[in-house]
């Protein structure tokens, strides 16, 4: 019995760690891309606004999370899921716009001089990027705050849980931030043209994952009908496994995607990837996937 409990506890710690890693990774990745992008295009002055967006998003998640926690305990999914879904749609829109802006700029570059970039990043687009950073954090931030609060409450009040569970959660978030930072640092070292193509491909998969997440959120909200899983990979690569959690956080991996989610994922990925790679023959490719 005692041995069983010990191994169980180890498993719980890992589960909590992975849940928070998954929730934090997508936000860390998106925010990292925004920061890397602004640095690469020589708009460090706009970073201030991104930081304000990050603080505002963290504050929003925490304040609303705490308010909800002490009043009704958990946010109803009828409220939380639409927020997550709409935020995902917004994030996909801005990411797609970024993708094609970057592709155009990348192709226009004759050399690798950042000075060749036109100063096209106007106030409007900065606002979109700050909004993207904000939304990426708030999207899962509220849910994550509530989850952490529930962990802390259980650890403090009932004695059911030891403090290692909430700590494992914070560690998961910290690793998410570190991974996001590492990816962006790696990307910043690339020359501008490569940065655009590598980041472009990452954005593509993150955005496709967000499309599937949005569909999942709208299903959970009751806005879209539920569907049986189109395939079941939970035996092969469960979302609760370390690799499954990493893939889920970065690219919206689901072990049991519904038909609708698969259609959404590939319905975004294939045409946008084709357009992204099509280059000058863009108008020919577009008809194929119309």
């Amino acid at each position: 019995m005692a041995q069983g409990l010990l191994s169980k506890r180890g498993k719980y710690v890992l589960t909590v760690f992975l849940i928070l890693l998954r929730e934090g990774l997508e936000a860390a990745l998106v925010v990292g891309i925004v920061i890397g992008y602004l640095v690469k295009v020589g708009r460090r002055d706009a970073l201030r606004w991104v930081w304000i967006g990050i603080v505002a998003a963290l504050a929003t998640s925490l304040v609303i999370g705490i308010l909800v926690f002490v009043t009704i305990g958990d946010l109803p999914s009828a409220v939380q899921e639409p927020i997550e879904g709409i935020a995902a749609v917004f994030a996909v829109s801005v990411l797609t716009w970024m993708l094609f802006w970057m592709r155009r700029q990348g192709r226009a570059l004759k050399g690798e001089l950042e000075g060749q970039l036109d100063a096209a990043l106007r106030t409007g687009s900065t606002a979109a990027l700050v909004g993207l950073a904000f939304v990426a954090i708030v999207r899962e931030g509220l849910e994550t705050a509530l989850f952490l609060l529930a962990l802390f409450r259980s650890a403090a009040a009932t004695g059911q849980l030891s403090p290692e569970l909430p700590l494992a959660g914070l560690a998961g978030l910290a690793v998410a931030v570190l991974l996001g930072t590492a990816i962006v640092r790696g990307a910043i070292r690339l020359n501008l043209r490569r940065f655009f193509s590598v980041t472009g491909v990452v954005i593509l998969f993150v955005a496709a994952g967000l499309v599937a997440s949005a569909i999942g959120a709208f299903v959970d909200a009751g806005w879209l009908p539920t569907g049986a899983p189109a395939l079941d990979l939970s035996g092969l690569l469960p979302e609760t496994s370390p690799i499954g959690a990493l893939l889920a956080g970065m690219f919206g991996y689901r072990a049991q995607p519904t038909v609708l989610q698969l259609v959404g994922y590939f319905g975004y990925l294939v045409p946008v990837l084709a357009l992204f790679l099509a280059g000058d023959r863009l108008h020919f490719r577009r008809t194929r996937f119309a």
């Binding site: 589960t15 999914s77 989850f147 009040a157 959970d220 009908p225």
Partner: protein, 150 residues
């Protein structure tokens, strides 16, 4: 361009963010344990028809359900109509983490990330009828039925 100053400014910002987060976390732990949704129940036989789920309203009925590796427990559930808070606990190993209630192919209420050891709740204003319980990843009880009586 202004690289030397940039680092210091970034540090200041990071400190501000951290301080803010800690301040908020402090507020949270002070107020946290006082209100526990799974607190005392007063199942007064009133028929409040509030559309707003509110766990502090005494007429909200509380129903304890469990998640296990098998799925939803109990697999067959029957509750009277009215505002109902489902208190979900996980008795399994953590392979099933989500509890959903569906009607006519749509999810009307759910809770995610119910790891073993914590309670998570959701509140619905249930109307009489037949509902489906769904606990994704479960084995023998991945789905179940909920009957809401008058």
């Amino acid at each position: 361009m202004t690289l030397p100053g940039q680092r210091g400014a970034a540090l200041t910002r990071a400190t501000v963010v951290l301080g803010f987060v800690l301040a908020l976390a402090g507020c949270g732990s002070a107020g946290g344990p006082t209100t526990i949704p799974g607190g005392p129940t007063n199942a007064a036989p009133g028929s409040a028809s509030s559309d707003q789920p509110n766990a502090s309203t005494p007429t909200v009925r509380q129903v304890n359900v469990t998640l296990s590796d098998a799925g939803c427990g109990p697999q067959t559930l029957s509750v009277p109509a009215g505002p109902t808070t489902f208190i979900v606990t996980n008795t399994g190993s953590g392979s099933v983490l989500e509890y959903e209630i569906e009607q006519s192919g749509r999810i009307i209420g759910e809770v995610e990330n119910v790891i073993p050891g914590i309670d998570r709740t959701f509140t619905l204003n249930l109307k009489p009828g037949a509902y489906i319980l769904n606990c994704p990843g479960g084995t023998s009880a991945a789905t179940g039925t909920l009957t809401v009586t008058e």
